[in-house]
C-alpha cells in the first residue's frame, strides 16, 4: 500500500540473482508492490530492509480483533473506499448496550434474549456480535455486578464503557483471558487507560471531538506501546458521522496516515429514538464503522440491519451462489412436481423457503445460471430452454419421477414453447411470478 515498486527496489539487494524466480530485482519489487508475491521469496533481503518493508506493508486500517470464549469480532483491514473497487472485508460488529443503572435481572433478561437471537438469510445464520456495558456512575461494585449479569447470559465479546480507569480496571478483572474493547481514553485519562489496555490485552477506544484530538491521542498511545486502538470521533448526527467516517477512511487509505489508521466505533444508540437509531446504524454499516453500539434490540430492526450488512459486504466479483443440482423438499415422491430455478442464492432461498414452509413436497432443479437471478440470467442468456433441458437431463430427474411435470418461474413464461421442444415427453407448466405465490399455486393447480 505504502511503498511504490521503485521504493521497494531501493531496499532490495539489487543483484538480479533471479533466486526469487524473477529476472530482476526491479521486476520482483513491482510484483511485491502489487501484492502478488511475498517478500520471503527473496532469500537475500537484509534484516533492516525486512523491518522497513514490514512496517510499510502494515494494513492502512489496523485489524482489531475482540475475542471471548470462542467468539471473535474483527474490524479493520479495509483497503477501499467504495465496495466496487474491490470489496469490503470485515463486517462491522453489532453490539447491544446495557447500563449499570438497570436492575441486574433486567440486564440478564435483555442480554439473554438478544444473545439467543438468530435469523436465517440466504442460508446464513446471522446473530448479534456482542454487548457493551456502560457505567453510569462511579461505583465499581455496581459496574462489575452489571458485567457479571451480562456474562451470565452471554459469552460474546464485550465493550466496557467508562472514562474512569478504576472502574475499567475492576471490570477487566472479571474478563481474564478475553480480549475486550474498553471505551475509552480521552485527554485526561489516556495514560492510565493505555496501561490498562496493555496489561489486559484489550483494545482501546480513543475519544475526541476533532480529528486533531483523535490523531494526537492515538499517537501518544501508540508511543506508549498500545497497538490496538479504535476511534470514536464523537459524531452522533447523520451528517457529521458521514463526514468524519469518510475523512478518517480517506486519510488512512489514500495518505496512509497512521494516527487515524484504525477502525471507527459508532454509537447509533445515542439517537433520540429507535427509528433514527436504525438509520444511523445503516449508515455506519455502509460508511465505514467497524463496531456499532445499539441501545434497542428488536428483531424487526436487527434483521434488516444484518441483511444490509450482508449485502454491503458481499464481494462484488462473486455473486452468492448455491450448488446446481436436484434439491429435495419435504420428501418428494414420484408424483411430486419438479420446479426449476437458478443458482443465485437469493433466488434459490426465496423459492426453497416458500415450498418448505408450505409443507408440500417438490423436486427443485437448480440450473447453473452462473449465480444470476431468474430475469438477469434470462437476459444474459444463461437461463434458456437449452440450459434448463440440459439440467433436467444431466441431473437425471426423469429416473425419480413417474409424472413428468416441470414448473417454470412465471417471469420466464416465454420459455415454455422452446422447452416443450427440448423436452417433448414432459408437461411444461408456468408457475407464478413471485415465489410467495407458489404454495397457493401448488395446492390449487398441481
Amino acid at each position: 500500500m505504502a511503498l511504490s515498486g521503485i521504493q521497494i527496489y531501493k531496499l532490495l539487494p539489487q543483484t538480479n540473482c533471479k533466486d526469487c524466480g524473477f529476472p530482476t530485482c526491479l521486476a520482483f519489487a513491482m510484483k511485491l508492490a502489487a501484492k502478488q508475491v511475498e517478500l520471503a521469496a527473496c532469500p537475500h533481503v537484509s534484516a533492516e530492509a525486512q523491518a522497513q518493508l514490514a512496517e510499510a506493508s502494515e494494513p492502512p486500517v489496523r485489524l482489531i480483533s475482540l475475542r471471548s470464549n470462542g467468539f471473535e469480532v474483527k474490524a479493520g483491514n479495509e483497503v477501499v473506499l467504495f465496495r466496487h473497487e474491490k470489496t469490503f472485508y470485515n463486517k462491522p460488529g453489532l453490539f447491544l448496550r446495557v447500563r449499570d443503572s438497570e436492575p441486574v435481572e433486567a440486564i440478564r433478561a435483555r442480554v439473554a434474549a438478544a444473545d439467543g437471537y438468530h435469523v436465517n438469510y440466504v442460508g446464513r445464520d446471522l446473530s448479534l456480535d456482542g454487548f457493551a456495558v456502560e457505567a453510569t456512575g462511579d461505583n465499581p461494585a455496581v459496574f462489575t455486578a452489571a458485567i457479571g449479569a451480562v456474562r451470565q447470559a452471554s459469552h460474546r465479546p464485550l465493550i466496557l464503557i467508562s472514562h474512569n480507569p478504576d472502574l475499567i480496571a475492576a471490570g477487566l478483572r472479571l474478563l481474564d483471558g478475553e480480549h475486550p474493547l474498553i471505551c475509552g481514553a480521552d485527554a485526561s485519562n489516556w495514560e492510565k487507560m493505555g496501561d490498562l489496555a496493555k496489561q489486559h490485552g484489550a483494545a482501546l477506544v480513543v475519544c475526541a471531538d476533532s480529528l486533531d484530538g483523535l490523531a494526537d491521542l492515538a499517537t501518544k498511545l501508540k508511543d506508549r506501546g498500545v497497538a490496538d486502538l479504535v476511534l470514536d470521533p464523537a459524531a452522533r448526527q447523520l451528517g457529521a458521522s458521514l463526514l468524519l467516517g469518510t475523512q478518517i477512511r480517506r486519510l488512512a487509505l489514500r495518505q496512509n496516515f497512521r494516527p487515524l489508521g484504525y477502525p471507527v466505533i459508532a454509537f447509533p444508540g445515542d439517537a433520540p429514538d429507535p427509528a433514527q437509531e436504525a438509520t444511523l446504524a445503516a449508515q455506519a454499516i455502509a460508511k465505514y464503522a467497524g463496531f456499532i453500539v445499539l441501545d434497542h434490540f428488536a428483531a424487526e430492526v436487527m434483521y434488516p440491519l444484518m441483511v444490509l450488512r450482508e449485502n454491503i459486504y458481499t464481494d462484488p466479483q462473486k455473486p452468492i451462489q448455491v450448488q446446481p443440482g436436484i434439491y429435495e423438499i419435504n420428501n418428494p415422491g414420484p408424483e411430486s412436481p419438479v420446479l426449476v430455478t437458478t443458482n443465485f442464492s437469493i433466488t434459490y432461498f426465496s423459492v426453497a423457503n416458500e415450498v418448505e414452509s408450505s409443507g408440500l413436497p417438490a423436486w427443485l432443479i437448480v440450473a447453473d445460471a452462473e449465480g444470476m437471478s431468474v430475469l438477469t440470467a434470462w437476459a444474459a442468456g444463461k437461463f434458456d430452454a437449452e440450459r434448463i433441458a440440459k439440467s433436467v437431463k444431466g441431473f437425471g430427474i426423469a429416473d425419480k419421477v413417474s409424472r413428468k411435470r416441470i414448473v417454470l418461474p412465471g417471469h420466464v413464461a416465454v420459455l415454455s414453447g422452446e422447452l416443450e421442444e427440448e423436452l417433448p415427453d414432459w408437461e411444461i407448466r408456468v408457475g407464478p411470478r413471485e415465489a410467495v405465490d407458489l404454495p397457493a399455486f401448488m395446492k390449487q393447480t398441481l
Binding site: A275, A278, A286, E300, P304, L305, T314, I346, V436
Partner: protein, 324 residues
C-alpha cells in the same frame, strides 16, 4: 496534532433538472422543484455546498392497486380509490412531488383507456400543487398509448414521463420535446448502459437538463448492493467529467422494498423477522436512505411513515456539521 483533511476537487458536476412549472412559468404548480447540481460526492459539505437536497416522491395510482401490501392499503385507506384524494393525502404526508403510476388495466379488467389516464393526471394536478411524475404501466405499447395523451393534456406543466428504456424511448422523448416535459431514462444497473441510453435520448434533441436517470435498484436483501454500487460509480464518473453521466438520479425503493416478502406479508414468516409493520417500514426506509447516501436525488416511496423517516434523514444529512 493538526490533521490536513484531504479535499477532493472534481472537474465535473451534476446538472440540475427542474420539475413542475408555476403559473409564472406557464403551468399551474404551486412551486417547482430542482434536483442535482452537486460538485462533490453526496453530503461532503466540507468540499462544496450541496445546492439541492434529495427529494422524496410518493407513488400513487390511478386506481386502487390490488397487489399492494395490506399495510399500504390500511394506511392510505379510502383515498386509494380516488387519485385526487390520494394525491392530497400524499401531499399531507410530506411528499416533495408525486408519482402517478398508471395501471395496465381498469377496474373492469380491460386495458386502461387514454381518456381515463388523462382524467387521472388532471385530477391529480387539480388536487395538489406539487410537481408530478407520470409512469406508464411498464409495457411499451401501453406506455405509448397512455403517456402521449397525458403529455399533451398537461403541456407546459413540466412533468417527468417514465419510464424510457432502450427499446422504448422514442415516442416518449418526442412527446416530452413537443410538450415541454422531462423524461426518466431507466437502464439495468450498468454504467455503460445508462450512458448509452442518455446519449440516445439526447441525440433526439432533448436537452440534458430535461433528463433524469434511473439506474434501477434492488431492495434490501434483493440486490440493493448492485444498485448502491452502480450509483456510486455513476456519480464518480459524473464528477470526473463524463458528461453523459452528469444527470440527477431517481430510484424506486418503495416499489422494490414492498415487493420483498419481508415488507409485503405478515403471515407465515419466520418469528425472527419480528413485528411486521415496523419491519416493513424499516425495510423501505433503510433501502431509501442507503441509496440516498450513494447518490440518489429522488427516491420514490410508498408508506407515509417511511417518508417521514427518510425526510428526517435528509434534513440531518443536509445540515452542515460544525466539525466540517
Amino acid at each position: 496534532m493538526p490533521v490536513q483533511i484531504p479535499k477532493d476537487s472534481w472537474a465535473g458536476s451534476v446538472r440540475t433538472v427542474t420539475l413542475g412549472a408555476t403559473a409564472a412559468e406557464g403551468g399551474t404548480r404551486a412551486r417547482s422543484v430542482t434536483v442535482g447540481g452537486q460538485k462533490t460526492l453526496p453530503f461532503m459539505h466540507f468540499e462544496q455546498v450541496t445546492p439541492h437536497r434529495p427529494l422524496v416522491a410518493i407513488e400513487i395510482k390511478d386506481r386502487r392497486p390490488e397487489d399492494w401490501s395490506p399495510l399500504l392499503l390500511d394506511v392510505w385507506g379510502d383515498a386509494m380509490g380516488d387519485p385526487a384524494a390520494w394525491a392530497k393525502a400524499a401531499e399531507q404526508a410530506g411528499a416533495d412531488l408525486l408519482v402517478l403510476a398508471l395501471s395496465l388495466t381498469g377496474g373492469d379488467g380491460q386495458p386502461t383507456q387514454p381518456q381515463a389516464a388523462v382524467a387521472a393526471a388532471k385530477a391529480v394536478l387539480d388536487a395538489s400543487g406539487l410537481p408530478l411524475i407520470v409512469f406508464g404501466p411498464g409495457q411499451a405499447e401501453a406506455d405509448n398509448a397512455l403517456l402521449v395523451p397525458v403529455a399533451e393534456a398537461t403541456k407546459g406543466e413540466r412533468i417527468a414521463l417514465g419510464i424510457c428504456e432502450d427499446k422504448n424511448y422514442r415516442t416518449l422523448v418526442a412527446t416530452a420535446l413537443a410538450n415541454d416535459h422531462r423524461v426518466i431514462a431507466r437502464s439495468p444497473m450498468d454504467v455503460n448502459l445508462a450512458k448509452q441510453l442518455n446519449i440516445l435520448i439526447h441525440d433526439m434533441g432533448l436537452p440534458l437538463d430535461r433528463i433524469l436517470m434511473d439506474p434501477t435498484t434492488g431492495a434490501l436483501g434483493y440486490g440493493i448492493e448492485y444498485g448502491y454500487s452502480v450509483m456510486e460509480r455513476l456519480r464518480l464518473a459524473a464528477l470526473q467529467g463524463d458528461a453523459m453521466t452528469q444527470l440527477p438520479m431517481i430510484v424506486t425503493p418503495g416499489f422494490e422494498a414492498w415487493k420483498a416478502k419481508e415488507a409485503k406479508v405478515g403471515q407465515d414468516v419466520p418469528e425472527a423477522w419480528g413485528n411486521w409493520a415496523e419491519r416493513a417500514i424499516t425495510w423501505e426506509a433503510l433501502t431509501a436512505v442507503t441509496l440516498i447516501e450513494s447518490g440518489a436525488d429522488i427516491v420514490v416511496l410508498r408508506h407515509p411513515e417511511s417518508v417521514r423517516r427518510v425526510r428526517q434523514a435528509i434534513d440531518a444529512l443536509m445540515a452542515v456539521p460544525e466539525t466540517a
